[in-house]
C-alpha cells in the first residue's frame, strides 16, 4: 500500500530564516505530487504541483519554491520566511487524474 510522509510536524521559525519541508511517498512510482497551504479561515490553496523529477509548476506567485530531486521526494523551500508564510502545509500525491491522498501536514509558525 502507498504511504506519504511529511516532516517536521511542527516548526517555529523567525522571520527571514530559511525553510525546508520534505515529503516522501512510498509504494508507488512516478506519482503526481502537490504542495497545498491551509491558512486560518481559508480553504486549501494549491501552491505547487509536479508530474515528474525536476518538473515543477507554480499556481500562485509567492515567497516559496519547490523541488523534486527524486521520483518520490518533494521539497518546499524558502530563502527568507515572511510572517505571511505561516500556515498548515500539506503534501499530497495521486495517480494522474485520480484521487489525491494527503500527508499529515506541517504546522509552520513564523514569528
Amino acid at each position: 500500500s502507498q504511504t506519504i510522509h511529511q516532516w517536521p510536524a511542527t516548526l517555529v521559525q523567525p522571520v527571514g530564516s530559511p525553510l525546508s519541508l520534505e515529503c516522501t511517498v512510498e509504494g508507488t512510482s512516478n506519482p503526481n505530487l502537490y504542495w497545498y497551504r491551509q491558512a486560518a479561515g481559508r480553504g486549501l490553496q494549491l501552491l505547487f504541483y509536479s508530474v515528474g523529477i525536476g518538473q515543477i509548476s507554480s499556481e500562485v506567485p509567492q515567497n516559496l519554491s519547490a523541488s523534486r530531486p527524486q521520483d518520490r521526494q518533494f521539497i518546499l523551500s524558502s530563502k527568507k520566511l515572511l510572517l505571511s508564510d505561516s500556515g498548515f502545509y500539506l503534501c499530497a500525491w495521486s495517480r494522474p487524474r485520480n484521487i489525491q491522498y494527503f500527508g499529515a501536514g506541517t504546522r509552520l509558525s513564523v514569528l
Binding site: 480553504g43 504541483y49 484521487i99 489525491q100 491522498y101 499529515a104 501536514g105 504546522r107
Partner: protein, 113 residues
C-alpha cells in the same frame, strides 16, 4: 475561475440528528467532485469522488450526492466520532496540466452526545 462554496460554516447536532452539508460549485467542466474529512491538526482523509450529476455514494452514515451545480453530504444518525471538518473540492476537466483541486473552506461539524 473555479469556485467552491460550502454551507453552513459550522453545524452543531445532537447525536442521532440527521442533516446535510452543502457544496455549491462553479467549474469550467467538472472532472470530479471530492469530499474529504479533516480532523484537527491532521491532513484531509478521502471520503468520496463523484463524477456526474445524479451519482450517489455511501459509506457508513455518510451519503454524497451530486447535481450540476452542487453536492450534498448527508449524515444519517451521526455519532460523536463523526465530528470533524468536511471539505469539498472540485477538479476541472481542463486543468492545464495540473490536477490540483479547488477547495471550499469546509463545514465544521460537531456532534454532541
Amino acid at each position: 475561475e473555479d469556485q467552491v462554496t460550502q454551507s453552513p460554516e459550522a453545524l452543531r447536532l445532537q447525536e442521532g440528528e440527521s442533516s446535510s452539508l452543502n457544496c455549491s460549485y462553479t467549474v469550467s467542466g467538472l472532472r470530479g467532485l471530492f469530499w474529504y474529512r479533516q480532523d484537527p491538526g491532521k491532513g484531509p482523509e478521502f471520503l468520496f469522488t463523484l463524477y456526474s450529476a445524479g451519482e450517489e455514494k455511501e459509506k457508513e452514515r455518510l451519503k454524497a450526492t451530486l447535481t450540476k451545480k452542487e453536492s450534498f453530504l448527508h449524515i444519517t444518525a451521526p455519532k460523536p466520532e463523526d465530528s470533524a471538518t468536511y471539505l469539498c473540492a472540485v477538479q476541472a476537466r481542463e486543468g492545464g496540466g495540473a490536477d490540483g483541486l479547488t477547495f471550499g473552506k469546509g463545514t465544521h461539524l460537531i456532534i454532541q452526545p
